[in-house]
Amino acid sequence: MTVGSLLSVAAAGLIAGMALGLRRPRLWLGLTLVATAAGLAAALVVLLGGVPAWEWRGEFLIGGEKPHLLLDAISALFLALLSVLGGAGAAYSRDYWSDTDYPKSAGRGRLWWSALVLMMGLVLTSANGLHFLFGWELFTVAAYFLITLENRRRRVRSAGWLYLAASHVGTLCLFAFFALVAERTSGSWDLGPHLRAQAGLAPLFWLALVGFGVKAGMFPLHVWLPSAHANAPSHVSAMLSGMALKMGIYGLVRFSGWLPLPPQAGWVVIGLGAVGALFGIAFAFAQNDFKRLLAYCSVENIGVILVGLGGAMLAAAHGDIAWGRLALAGALLHIWNHGLFKALLFFGAGSVLHATGTREMSRLGGLWHRMPWTAGLFTLGAVAVSGLPPLNGFVSEWLVYLGLFEAGITHGPAAWAAMPVAIVLGMAGALALASFVKAGTLVFCGAPRTKRVAHAHEAGPWMLGPMLALAGACVTIGLAPAYLWPVVARVCATWNPAWAFTGPAPAPLATLGAVHVALAVLALAAAAGLWWRARANGLRHGLTWDCGYAAPTARMQYTGGSFAGIAAGWFGWLLQTEASLHRPRGLLPERAHRVERVPETVLERLIGPVAAGALRVSTAVRRLQHGRLQAYILYLVVGLAALGVLVFLEGTQ
Amino acid sequence: MTGTLNLMIGLAMGLNLMALGSSRMPSLIRAMSVQGVVLGIMPLLMEHFAWPLTLIAVATVAVKGFIIPRLLQRAMRAANIDRDMEPLIGFIPSLLLGAGGTIAAMALARSLPLMPEHTGSLLVPGALASVLTGFVLLIGRTKAISQVCGYLILENGIYLFGLLLIKATPLMVEAGILLDLTVGVFVIGIIVDHIQRAFDSLDTRKLTVLRE
């Protein structure tokens, strides 16, 4: 089958899913799986070089423009991830958001899920500015309805509103961006590599950076991200974090490839990426809400991707192909990797939420006993997201590091950015490790902190299946990274034709893969050996040794707040943690508590006051609008008089 | 020659960081005095031997390395403090500021239009870094004695700048500055003693209420 027919099958499946999703869950699931499989196949055909690119131009008008679809390597990279997550999320939602649990919203959820996947696919394949904007807006709206599936809860509604408002600020920038591109290319909305020759388009990159940056959750434009991801249903969070953020990255990759870039672009993007990586993970570490922690970690990973992309832009500006290609390859691979392990982690969080009903880490604990599969898969995801070998997170971060190190070695001006950024990435990596040790162990290890948690249940096969598949993908990419190099090299060549590459992988990915395999095998062998030895020597079970204290309780365990204490203190100026303290008083005190809250600093301390000021001004202006007809007529007369004066003054000159 | 000189300036830069990072007064004073000695020897390495030069160098070493530190130590003992407990800029942030400033000074010195014989030397970055360190200490510390140390390190930076012009300026100017400094520190020592007796504290933040 050709790419075109595969894509038609995918689109048809999704549209049929939208029509049937409300009433027929099983049929919908089948259709969605077929459609995403077709989408994945189409993407793989392009990525593996079966077809260089697939292009289609319609001869009819939609909204005054002829449709122009293009699936080249860059779109295919994102389309593959979209298909995987679209299918996995649909399967996961079967039990997670079933009709029995959520009779009112399950049908709507299916409908909007199909719409979301379809619209993202449209954005990815559209090469016409107007249709790109259509798709973008519809995808934003579909995501809004998915976030607010549980719209009876106030928090969910406000998270949805925040998302919608922030998205529209971004869309406004994109609207200006596409309109100006069209205006400067003699009214054509057609997009493509031909734009690169037009030097006058370079300043428009800043508009695109803001517009796509909002969607990508680029620090400090990430304000909508934590609450939306935390409050959405978990399969939606997985899709938002795994794919919707990447749509912003897609825009940046796409248009940094197609448009000429201003000379400072690389510096700004790599700087924003480094700052986002460190600050995002600092916020993540301080969170007590399980899903909010995952959401903030997405800000960090987007930062890593931006570091790689910014490095590539810098390299392109200075003509350093070798290291720029490595950084770009790392960024591209990290797009996939982050999508895979973040979806896995959000699915794990969803299973925990489903089983216990809480996202508060200080109320969870000891879940491995009840949910061994979820615990194991979450641990795997935690290793991957911390960027540790031998899993996929390390491969892409390693490529980004290699790019930065090589930039330092070349002694070019770009080294001034690359060296500090490498150090910042190292710190962010250590903090990511800390965050995920915190999340994983507080939730799954130790003793259950509440009764409800003690009676949790393991997720069903429909929820574990997608998690297993994603975990398998993480392991595969980690153990065999060399097979991905041709794919990534093809995308690099599409990004910048001068960077086409035919020889073997410049980075020794094959060796790294072999080391990873050896490491995994040895680790398994050592674990089995140690386990066997312990069994052979005699294994006794006893209480945790608490310095001779004989009756430990679950409340004596370390909590999230105390775990983050030291490192969160170093970032206190950024986190602005608010604590309310009730000290124990007197003999035999009855009550004492300390509650800590990490505010959304950027939103509450920066945007909040500005918005409040704007609101005050608008309230003052609003006094003019009081509904009295006489006054309105007065305004009219004053306006006419002012016009008259103007005309008179013009005449006298 | 430049190698030895650069090594000494590097040492002075390290001492800057030590001054920024030390919470105890005696180590702050020691860092400052060792820096004074290092800087005092430097003119001897830069120029051919000449009596007036040697005399000035010896005087600099004596005043910056021994007399002023002794005066400060006495003031410290009189006032009975040996720590700056509540700095306005913490010790780690001031260290990072100092390190960042040093790197920025290096970068800045590259783009300054310097004489060809000074391009390879660390004189300008060292001078800038010392001035910055002095400012950080003056802004960030609350005790009078640590502020005096900040002022002296700032002066060391200016002295390093002066070395750039060692052929052009008579060292008499430097000698004059040195004399001013000594007198200044001497006076401060006495004042510190009196403030301590009068107010039981050396916290300069409390001096804001002393108007007229």
Binding site: W368, K438 | T102
Partner: protein
Amino acid sequence: MTITILGFALRLALWLLLAPLLPGLINKVKAWVAGRRGPPVLQLYYDLARLWRKGVVLSTLASPGFIIAPAVAWVALVGAALLLPLGPGGTALSFRGDVLLMIYLLALARFCTVWAAMETGSAFEGMGSVREVSYAVLTEAAIIAAVLSLCVHTGGLSLATILAPAAGAGAALLAGGLFTVLLAENCRVPFDDPNTHLELTMIHEVMVLDHSGPPLAAILHGASVKLLLFSVLLVQAVIPLGDLSPLAAGGALAGGVLVVTIGVGLVESLLARFAFRQVPFLLTLAFLLCLFALLVAWKGGAA
């Protein structure tokens, strides 16, 4: 082929067998300074043999991860050690970017130890874990800066190429920075006290309170491999072993490791453990030393 395998086995044996010697030497130095006779140099070997034969007490709260994690950590540490070249012996495996793999293998080991510590649900282990992961943020920055300075100085990206040549003018700075990192990462005295039994003041020792038997042996052996790894890294980063004849290089490496070990012992004898609020300060200092080494390497390369 046989020779490669034989060489590899020899290298592995060298790492595994020599590593437990270092803590013994350190203890001997400490005893000597204090005027005591001290435990025998081979004490850790005896301890390991004894632990290997002992049974395991498993907390009722702990999952199988409690035993799996020490095994994975041990593999990660030995793997990281095998990536390091051994002076004239060269390296078992060298490729561009293996230096980052080494750093991240150390991170994997940290992940496993901390995870296992948190399995028990004990507040003491919690304290140790928090300290470990928090201070690692600063040591990570220092290590990356140190490695970057070596890379920039030599223009290489693999451990074999960056460690062989002379470290240049920044060697003293690098030595100071890396030695401090060594002390922090291996939980030696100004940061942690391997001898204390006050759980409230420890980092590493407190994390392994609940381990026993073979898993504890794996942890202790892994810790000694890590100590040897950092000593070898430090010596090779500072001494230009590549410029010496093979025999001299081997001697210099062994002598250097001995000097580092004695240095650690002397530091432990002469210094007291710092208060915890001073630890970040010391680590920042180590980071700055490495950063200035990077700056020196950068200036040297540009000129």
